[in-house]
Symmetry: C2
Subunit: 214 residues, 2 copies
């Protein structure tokens, strides 16, 4: 379960309670790993039972209890073990490509709207990823990143910032690849494959039937 490792990584930056953790998954980690509260709280309890993290109970006001978790030595060891281990990086399920594979079943205008929708959504990811990349490198950091770096010896800070920033650049780069793919898809719907493609089309004919049969 990578959620365990995502949590270890975040708590290793700074001890937090489940509520703050779920905010982290909704904001900075939104395009890397999402997890709803209903998954976070039970997982925290499980990890505590396994000795990967430990809770400090705090009280806010008079009654409201906070359970602030921090990573144990065993937890850090497990995080390091996981990070050092190569795993299967192939994408096993890609709903966008699956939909793309059957796009010939609908009207080209409908297909174009699907591609446009992909472009709209992925653009938001590009903006977010590039913003974080820029801010981390410029040390114009979000509070959570400032805290992370403050815990490191000064010599390592640039190294750490470089790698963290690179991860967010990766999210942006992949979103850009998807945008380029969807843009090319729209072009293909309108004009068919390019003239230098493996397939030569009869001049002037548009490959654009109204509706397709099964």
């Amino acid at each position: 379960m990578s959620l365990t490792h995502a949590i270890l990584g975040v708590l290793n930056v700074e001890p937090m309670n489940g509520y703050e953790l779920s905010q982290a998954f909704e904001t900075s980690l939104a395009w890397v790993w999402v997890a709803p509260r209903s998954q976070i709280y039970p997982t925290l309890r499980k990890m505590e039972a396994e000795g990967l993290i430990e809770a400090e109970r705090q009280v806010r006001g008079t009654k409201l209890e906070r359970r602030v978790y921090s990573v144990t030595d065993a937890g850090l060891a497990e995080l390091r073990r996981w990070v050092a281990e190569p795993f299967d990086t192939t994408m096993k399920r890609d709903p966008v490509l699956l939909q793309g594979l059957f796009l010939d079943l609908v009207d080209p205008d409908v297909a174009a709207k699907i591609f446009e929708h992909v472009i709209d959504e992925q653009r938001a990811i590009v903006e977010y990823g590039e913003r974080l990349h820029r801010e981390i490198l410029a040390s114009d950091l979000l509070p959570v990143h400032q805290r992370r770096l403050a815990r490191r010896p000064p010599d390592e800070r640039e190294y750490v910032a470089t790698l963290k920033a690179h991860a967010f650049a990766g999210a942006a780069a992949q979103a850009k690849a998807r945008i380029a793919w969807a843009e090319e898809g729209i072009r293909l719907l309108r004009h068919g494959p390019a003239a230098d493609s493996a397939v030569k089309r009869p001049a002037g004919k548009k490959a654009r039937p109204r509706q397709q049969g099964g």
Copy 2:
């Protein structure tokens, strides 16, 4: 459940039994949607119960039963409905980027191996995706694609081939983006951020600590 729609899409090309279907998920659909037999067979039964597909029982030899499924009118309608519908295209969990985010916790040589592993695996996807893209466009098709196109009116064949090929090109394009990201990662481990980056590094100093603290 998109497995249902993946199955509808494949069976819409050509009626098949569960065994052939599972082979399709292992080969042509391997980088788009994977599904083990243990998930395929129960899903086929469920879809049959829902009226999306119907089974024709055949007997091979004297005893061995095959259940060959084909898409019903209701199934094709559902497939079309799903294809025409825009959905959330944001990647919710990306183990590669998650690992990349914590790569500062391990020795730079170990981190480089992780990036190299990503490159190796993604290269295989590029080769596969580009091969299928080429073959479909060149009509030098796999049997399954030949059958698919044979069922269409000649006028539509180029259009269909163009779109199918484009889906596989998408798998290759994304893998390429990951490779570029991992290559840049290796460069950063060795030389730190580029000189024109937002961060200026002291000349001659390498951001390459041996081991990092928690």
